[in-house]
Symmetry: none
């Protein structure tokens, strides 16, 4: 028996808007600790981790650990039917293959319940390491979203450089180039507008704007976003959910090549294990971009699904593997099992 009552139902609505573009189907894990999810995006390039701690719910009953496979698309559809001020209750009976979402209007004059079929999703629980980051940038989430959106109109990738002066976002595209520098500012009176940089080491990394813009869908969840960067590690983009937990996105950096190296790569065929695949949806653009060897965070070491372990604070390994661009699902090019069978 599962019964989770969330007074601020809009949080769940926003959470689904924040992840449904990236992940179509996923298992929600429910334990005494909280309600959580962890999934690779459908192209196996990025990873989403959600945690809603039990303390954040008005009422939280979870008799035994459950892993419930859901279509996030359909779940989002149902949650859209909840008013922003509605109280949302999630219910599931033991052994049931459905889940129920209940929406109560603030006045209690309207009570709705939506039942959704669960699905069997074969995923393994991924371990995500705690890591030390060379630079952590904290900035207004809306500003980060605006920058990613703007740069996305110019180019496909963003180079993020952190120095102690500030953080620079750069891109380059057919129509020109763009650089946006945000200086550190400890806005004391308006902490929501602060930009704070904790930096051990200057870092410069490159990422696909396409994913950054997907991550930015979480903007309504938090006024601030935290971007944690280290060379050779996936970036972590985190939106804290007040009193409850977070949505975190992980994305492996692309290997940045300067022009010369790029030229060399052209003649050197990408090796098999780099899994260079054609981009699934080549944008209609000058296809001048040479094939590049990219790094991917494709396979995370899968942790045996001991249980429906909630805490993401466990510390297994993350292997950085060569990155592929968005791939057609399951055209596995090596013998390793894919992390998820569901795309």
């Amino acid at each position: 028996m599962l019964e989770l009552r969330l007074v601020q139902g809009s949080i769940l609505k926003k959470v689904l808007e924040a992840i449904k573009d990236l992940v179509n189907d996923a298992n929600f894990d429910c334990s005494a600790t909280g309600f959580s999810l962890q999934a690779m995006d459908s192209s196996h390039v990025a990873l989403v981790a959600l945690l809603l701690r039990s303390e954040g719910f008005e009422h939280y009953r979870c008799d035994r650990n459950l892993s419930m496979g859901m279509s996030l698309t359909n779940m989002a559809k149902m949650l859209k039917c909840a008013g922003n001020d509605d109280i949302v209750t999630i219910k599931a009976d033991d052994g049931s293959d459905t889940i129920t979402f209940m929406f109560e209007s603030p006045t209690q004059d309207k009570i709705a319940d939506f039942e959704m079929k669960l699905m069997d999703i074969d995923s393994e629980h991924l371990g995500i390491p705690e890591a030390e980051y060379e630079a952590i940038v904290r900035m207004p989430s809306s500003e980060f979203a605006r920058i990613c959106k703007d740069l996305g109109t110019i180019g496909d990738t963003v180079v993020i450089s952190v120095t102690k002066e500030g953080v620079k976002f750069s891109t380059r595209g057919d129509i020109g180039t763009a650089n946006i520098v945000c200086r550190q500012n400890t806005s004391i009176d308006k902490p929501e507008e602060a930009t704070i940089i904790e930096m051990q080491e200057p870092v410069t990394l490159t990422f696909a704007l396409r994913y950054m813009n997907s991550f930015a869908k979480a903007t309504p969840l938090a006024t601030q976003v935290t971007i944690s960067l280290s060379s050779e590690l996936p970036v972590v983009v985190e939106y804290k959910i007040a009193e409850m937990g977070y949505v975190r996105y992980y994305l492996a950096p692309k290997i940045e090549e300067d022009e010369e190296i790029e030229a060399r790569v052209e003649t050197t065929k990408p090796k098999a294990e780099t899994k260079s695949k054609a981009e699934a949806k080549p944008k209609v653009e000058t296809m001048e971009s040479k094939p590049k060897v990219k790094k991917t965070m494709s396979e995370l070491e899968s942790k045996p699904q001991v249980d429906t372990e909630i805490e993401a604070e466990s510390k297994p390994l993350v292997e950085i593997k060569p990155q592929e661009e968005e791939t057609k699902p399951q055209t596995a090019t090596n013998g390793e099992a894919e992390v998820m069978d569901v795309e």
Copy 2:
């Protein structure tokens, strides 16, 4: 070396929104006088003239006259990346084939620079005559925009009639007819809402609503619009830009035929010199409109490009020529050189 600093950067954003629909590529001319542009719309029917006087800039440095060809589409894209409160600086080095737009947030915490390639646009500088107009209507720009939009849902052309009582906008379409009369009102307390008519002679002229609605994109630039009308002259629709200059649109009137004449024209093939051409982008609309003989302001006497002459106050001739609907570029039907080579 060019460096223009505009504190109210939103003006430039609005200017581009106001002209980019009409003109795809154009030369910006920069001289000690100011920053200006003059271009025919892509179908060579309407003309846009922009002037931003140097006095309106916080800092204005223009060592020598420059004519810089830009893709207005791309320039608009970049300016969209500026915040509405940003300070915008335009920079170009001598001999450089790029231009840089710098955006500074009001707090100076965010500084962006966007570099755009210039293009070589073969345009001649058009002379625009100062003319006496039989009637000048000054009215709220939003009201004018609303009228054009509304009439555009009913018909394709608007008949503007000015009498001393007021100005009447009329149209006729498949579903019926519409007449909107605006009476003169010298709103003293709210001058922005005034409608003022200066009239020597009653005037009635007909214009394509399609263009009027493009002109109305400039509405955010000014609370009032000025419409200057004379029989046989292109209408001038002017939006003043506070402290800086203006955006002016010129459009030749159509020859208005009543039903009987129209019927006759149907049987009478339009003469060669009327240059009736197929509409380049036939909107998905009931193509019942019979071919009509229209007047065009297609060829303005081109003034030799003495220099990057800024002032539009020079007074060459405008020849009123039979109007064509939007044409495929450069299917010239007579020996005269087209005014612009770039479409």
